[in-house]
């Protein structure tokens, strides 16, 4: 009758650790049967809410699509808070509600040399990006990470793209060297396309470098969301006109020149 069915009540197929887990953090692949999600553009996201959330936590959680095939939806999730901790402890058969794909994904320009800049769990959408890119020989990946490399889908990505480089930030002293690597990469791709996903400080660095070298760059923001569908105005980001735009519907992927990307958002 009144319910469209766009929120799909699924059961989880598997939760698989990606590399070593334990201690404070871990990364996991969550797999679902694809219940008929429309084809996604890499960089789009889904909202996920396991039934066991009940009244707490109240919000669903947004995740960019790591891989969508006709029969499988895969998410790459880092357990790093009270929502993701619960998600990564789900068992096969547990009930989860999923809706999407939502928002605007990355631009895809097959003939243009493209570099994917990923920070940590921000590598997730690039699995889909590389898998759906018609000319992966035009793709490169630069990946900054803190957990062991085997915690991320780096090796499978490096088999697809023409060039992949990983940089492990073991201590804060490594950061300037990583920024230098980003600088060299952005300069090299100033005439191509840069697509970036990762923590906000990382994206701000990418944006700053892209502006300096006049590079065309897109960034995928990870602003906190409540609804994910444009209803709450909680996830906004300031654009260059000083207006707040919604990350969930107008993003999460934006061209760098659209945004002010200041510290205070």
């Amino acid at each position: 009758m009144g319910i469209s069915g766009a929120c799909r009540d699924l059961t989880i197929l598997s939760v698989t650790p990606a590399g070593p887990v334990g201690g404070q953090y871990g990364c996991y692949y969550l797999e679902f049967d694809n219940p008929g999600l429309a084809a996604a553009v890499a960089g789009q996201f889904v909202m996920v809410r396991p039934a066991c959330f009940g009244s707490d936590p109240v919000w669903p959680r947004p995740f960019s699509i790591c891989r969508l095939t006709p029969d499988r939806l895969t998410l790459f999730v880092q357990a790093c808070g009270r929502g993701t901790d619960v998600l990564c402890r789900l068992k096969p058969g547990d009930a989860v509600t999923v809706w999407g794909p939502l928002g605007q994904g990355f631009g895809l320009e097959p003939d243009v040399p493209t570099v994917m800049l990923a920070g940590g769990v921000g590598i997730a959408p690039f699995v889909e990006y590389a898998a759906t890119h018609p000319a992966p020989h035009n793709l490169a990946l630069v990946f900054g990470h803190r957990q062991p490399l085997s915690c991320y889908p780096f090796s499978e990505l490096s088999q697809v793209v023409a060039r992949a480089e990983a940089f492990e930030e073991k201590t804060p002293d490594d950061l300037p060297r990583f920024i230098a690597l980003l600088e060299k990469t952005v300069a090299e791709y100033a005439g191509g396309l840069i697509v970036a996903c990762g923590p906000r400080p990382f994206l701000m660095t990418v944006a700053r470098l892209a502006r300096r070298f006049g590079a065309r760059a897109q960034v995928s923001l990870e602003n906190r969301m409540a609804c994910g569908v444009g209803g709450c105005l909680g996830c906004v980001e300031k654009n260059v006109l000083g207006q707040y735009v919604q990350t969930c519907t107008e993003g999460p992927v934006f061209w760098v020149e659209e945004l002010s990307l200041s510290e205070d958002a």
Binding site: G2, I3, R49, V229, G231, G234, A265
Partner: protein, 306 residues
Amino acid sequence: MSADTSVRLPGMHAKNPVMTASGTFGYGMEFAPYGDLRGLGGIVVKGLSLLPRTGNPMPRIAETPCGMLNAIGLQNCGVEVFLRDKLPRLPFTETPIVANLYACDADEFAELAGVLSAAEGVAALEVNISCPNVKAGGIAFGQDPAMAGKLTEAVKKRAGDKPVWVKLSPNVTDIVGVARAAVLGGADVLTCINTLTGMAVDIRSRRPRLANVIGGLSGPAIKPVALRCVWQVCQAVSAPVIGVGGISSAEDVLEFILVGAHAVQIGTANFMRPDMAFRIAERLPALMDELGIKNLDAYRGTLAAG
């Protein structure tokens, strides 16, 4: 035999008591992919001001136990854009569309009511009296019965034949006093309640979790407060009351009807899943059947207290 969920409110007929709360359902169309807007009892759209408002800096939202805080700052497109671009897309002939009004002083409220009174497709005006009265030093209209009464009167004068709903704040010592003043000022309906003011902080960064420091608490955490307010107000005034605060199931809806509400609004639960209001509206008649409730009038206010 399915239960009769219909509700009569001043100047309006709703097919069921399940409406959506202002600020939690965008301008309506954002939620159209998730259900049939015509299946709802009403839609209260995002708070509107005379001119567009930018809203507050980020972060604007924070999750709290069984709830959330928000300080969006009434970001909205302004009444003109709403009437021109948003309202025509809504199924206003089949579902009552209620405009929620925000302004900084009584004159501005009255002017806004005047603009909306002429709008075909707007079924009622809901006045947000939780906003600060700039001309009275910033104290919220809703915290002072005299001020709330005068504001209601000013809006009512300019509202034409549109029913005026007044949305009460729980951040008061005596909500009944404000409710009575609003009814004396001409309120046709009272909406109970707006958010509770609250705060969340980060002990590591030593920063507030909202840029605005203080925000409005909503979600299941506030349901007992809302229920208490609705019950108290229903005891004291004869105007219909719309209950809002933490409702996330058809059972919750009946709780509010039981203490005297005519209808309810679904707020934060719309964020739990965007088809929530549609699901609750669809589930309600079956639940009423299970409980032997033929219609809401027969069940309303039948709480056996004391």
